[in-house]
């Protein structure tokens, strides 16, 4: 019982606290990616809290966040298309985040969800946990791809050589998706 709360505190400190700094400084693209990462970390913290407090109904919070977090990121990707396109990815943090987001989700979500599944045992709760994990990974793939697509299409009126820039992030995200599906 104690270990889950310790893991939640650790994840809050390591995973969530840097995203506050990332979302509060830097260009818009980095802020949106930090918000995306914060949604993932917050959802995992909520899952760990539900197990730590031994209240299975708290899992609903994580479910709502897993649905609404990618929706919020898609809102940013739709309404901030100009700002996302204005600044090319010169920021190293934003570039690293854009590259590492999908593998990070594919590694971290099973790392948290699978021990929770073992702890809860088979049943409806386990199916719910697995659904939340699938929603998290899928939503992360969708939102990261939307951000990359906005970025790629924003470059098209800027320069003539837009095709390699347009295919670069697309190929990267599809590679991450196949890795997530395999793992």
């Amino acid at each position: 019982m104690n270990g889950w709360l310790s893991a939640a505190a650790l994840l809050l400190l390591v995973g969530f606290a840097p995203t506050v700094w990332g979302a509060a400084s830097g260009p818009v693209r980095r802020r949106v990616m930090a918000q995306n990462l914060a949604t993932l970390a917050g959802c995992l913290v909520l899952l760990l809290l539900a197990q730590g407090y031994a209240r299975p109904s708290y899992v609903d919070l994580a479910l709502v966040l897993a649905v609404l977090g990618p929706a919020g990121t898609l809102v940013y990707a739709r309404l901030l298309a100009d700002e996302l396109a204005e600044r090319p990815a010169r920021d190293p943090v934003a570039r690293a985040l854009g590259r590492a987001m999908t593998p990070l989700a594919a590694v971290c979500v099973p790392l948290v969800v699978l021990p929770l599944c073992v702890a809860t045992g088979p049943g409806r709760a386990m199916v719910k946990l697995l659904a939340i994990g699938a929603l998290l990974i899928g939503g992360n793939i969708v939102s990261t791809r939307a951000l990359s697509a906005r970025h790629a299409t924003g470059h098209t009126p800027r320069g003539t050589g837009h095709t390699p820039q347009a295919t670069g992030p697309e190929r990267h995200t599809t590679g991450g998706q196949s890795g997530a599906a395999g793992g």
Partner: protein, 104 residues
């Protein structure tokens, strides 16, 4: 269990304090919107740590999707009005978005 729960409460309070300070210090509304989304998320985490899941549920629904949507929609409307009125602030370098804004 007690000390870990206290550590969690202190951590969540510190996160709320940090993100709300950042939200106050951000001047540009567009950049403030991401900080506001993070503030809503950390407030929801604080409510969940304080054993108030119903408040956390509504805070999640409002803070993570609705607040940025409202803020960004109003920013876009203000900018469009400023451009139609011949304002000099946002003139230029937004030619690619005129068709999108004209559709709305």
């Amino acid at each position: 269990m007690r000390p870990v729960a206290d550590v969690l409460i202190v951590l969540a309070l510190a996160l709320v304090a940090a993100s709300s300070t950042a939200a106050v210090l951000a001047r540009d509304p567009v950049r403030q919107s991401t900080v506001l989304a993070l503030l809503g998320l950390s407030l929801a985490l604080l409510f969940a740590v304080l054993q108030a899941p119903d408040v956390a549920l509504s805070q999640l629904a409002v803070g993570s999707a609705l607040t940025p949507l409202m803020l960004l929609l109003s920013v876009r409307k203000v900018r469009r009005k400023g451009k139609e009125g011949g304002s000099h602030r946002n003139a230029g370098n937004r030619t690619g978005s005129t068709d999108q804004e004209g559709r709305r």
